[in-house]
Point group: C2
Chain length 403, copies 2
Amino acid sequence: MTPTRIKLDRGRGALGPALELVHTGRAPTRAVLTTELGVTRATAGAVATELQALGLITVDPRPHAASGAQGRPSHRLDIAADGPVVLAAQVHADGYRVALVGLGGRIVATAPACMTVDADPARIIGDAVAAGAELLRTTGRRCLGAGLAVPSAVAEPEGTALNPLHVAWPAGAPVHDIFRDCLTEAGVGVPGRCGNDVNLAALAEHRHGAGQGSHHLLCVATGHRGVGGALVLDGRLHTGSAGLALEVGHLIVDPAGRACHCGARGCLDVETDPLALLETAGVTPDPARSPLDQARALLAGDHPEAAAVTEAVAQLVDRLGQGLAAMVNVLNPDRIILGGLHQSLLAAAPDRLRSVVADRSLWGRSGSVPILPCSLGHNSLVGAAELAWQPVLDDPATALSAP
Amino acid sequence: MTPTRIKLDRGRGALGPALELVHTGRAPTRAVLTTELGVTRATAGAVATELQALGLITVDPRPHAASGAQGRPSHRLDIAADGPVVLAAQVHADGYRVALVGLGGRIVATAPACMTVDADPARIIGDAVAAGAELLRTTGRRCLGAGLAVPSAVAEPEGTALNPLHVAWPAGAPVHDIFRDCLTEAGVGVPGRCGNDVNLAALAEHRHGAGQGSHHLLCVATGHRGVGGALVLDGRLHTGSAGLALEVGHLIVDPAGRACHCGARGCLDVETDPLALLETAGVTPDPARSPLDQARALLAGDHPEAAAVTEAVAQLVDRLGQGLAAMVNVLNPDRIILGGLHQSLLAAAPDRLRSVVADRSLWGRSGSVPILPCSLGHNSLVGAAELAWQPVLDDPATALSAP
DNA sequence: TCACTTTGTGCAGCCGTGAAACAAATCCGG
DNA sequence: CCGGATTTGTTTCACGGCTGCACAAAGTGA
């Protein structure tokens, strides 16, 4: 009995970083893989061969376009079109959304978005997972993991959803356990992980969107109600010691502002959300429509009193700028990405917002941080997929051999 | 010509982590080194031998006290008493302070603290370095690096001191270059690095003081004027993308508060510094004495109107708690350490401070973060030494062979 | 067509670690 | 006092992951 094990020893340690480079689109060829990883061509070649053997990427021997450079053209590395996927789900106030997502953040298949409001987290998560399992059956793709985005802070390491303002859930819902149980029940035998939607959106934007290349990315977004923040440090989500970091909704941005349920006055949360825009512009909210939609309609010019809207926008932008400046002073990010209504406010008055942030932050230099809008559709969903991909990116060989 | 190189190959990769464990006092014996590093006894033994060969540690073959446990007693690992040192300097409003610091944060030699105020950063840093060079001459110790703590944010990567409020320097002083030039001039042929004093104090507390074991350590301190903050993430100082993070002095903690030079009202900076305490207690500051000393005298009971002092303390504690709560919501630390006047305020009204932070932070859980006083003397100085030790901790072999 | 440049691959070898066997030092129970 | 039991330190061997080098391959440009 010979102890002959197959010797695929070349480039196992660099496998994870290499896959991450391909995943984030920073390694189109073996040549750049060599320089980006800081290894020799031999190792990079072995890594590419290994990733190919695992079915994660394909190598296209045709020249990588006409690069115009001298020398032998490099082969293109592509994400395998029929490679494995992960199950990504997002739960929000109006229902849920499910998709299968491949490497590179590519949405491979989507179930029709479901619109319901359910006070029972187990039921809505169960429905979402069932829809995802159905997608897996019809497409026949191999599934390596599952991720869930919820509109609430998720406490680590217990995985309970704290203060889910935007859904009718009880506080402290054990979403992580529920998600895992639903996966088991639906016959999807993969581990599941949960995260806050804004956190996951930031992660997605960092890897595939407007945050690419940033080392200290701050992301702030308003959804239907409430403000969420996220910080991506050197490619990793910073969730604090217990998953509760970047709860920026209660920074005080207007000493004389509205009363907030937290007890203070003028919190970012109540000063820069859709309802605040409607109120300030003198519009009575229509309870039948989502405040975010109504606010966006206002910004799109759908209002007789344009002057009132302009003034309201100016006020919200000032408040938002004040809050962003506080975060800039504390976190010193190199880029800020805004989502939800904040993204619309940025579009409506970009110069004003940037100058407020610059004036209010301590050092001119850190105040000149670029402020950009989100660039991905469904970024929370893609972020949930990132959560599921993470174990594979950390150690592709074992993640693919395990099940 | 035989290519016989000496084969001291065992345990080179784990050398840095091992030294860090010894440095922070977490590896008293080879046995715990084995478990802490997660390597085999063979590797741990080789690492210890290598560190000994480098002259950084000594092995005491006598039993490590009477541990009471069964089995063969482990040998003690000690930091070499005559090992190399680094030059640490601290510049503050009243002058400078210099010391030679060994591994483990042990101050090996100190020059008498110098009390001068000089508007020229080159002169005072030059004096400090010269005093340090003299210490090196008299003690004859080998010097591996130099660190400087300044009372101002230090922009990375240029190394300029921004807004040095507490010394009479011009803004934008290139402290890093000045420090390097002074070292060269004084004949100390080692690289020098600069950092903010509160940042470095936090680093020192994390490695040798009240912050040991923390993964998300927040440190806030008031010196003579102004508030500084620092964050130590997983043992590494988080200075943001440009070295300007944790500039927490201008968080708004009292909407109706004092006007601040930054343009806003009620900034943490002006609401919780020594002058604020004196003013609130109705004491006219004596320009001949430092405000911090006067404030501390007040807290020590040196005042006829005790009730006024108690009330002033309560007010400052409330403001401080508000500011800390904002930081807790943004950063979610697992421990908070207070220095300077804030440390004294904590001592004067610990329960009140803790309850304000808990009430004001969003989730009760993150609000229950422990708040502790600094536990090291001269923590900025020791922190400056940590800065100088860092290259050695990262790669002991090359750091010691280079010069 | 012949340099020249850049990319991919095969081969030897080294460096750092783990596994296992062995030796050493102490406690414990007789 | 002596022989396990237990834990620690050392020695030896093997092996995985990488580098360095030589060479082949595939383009560009005079």
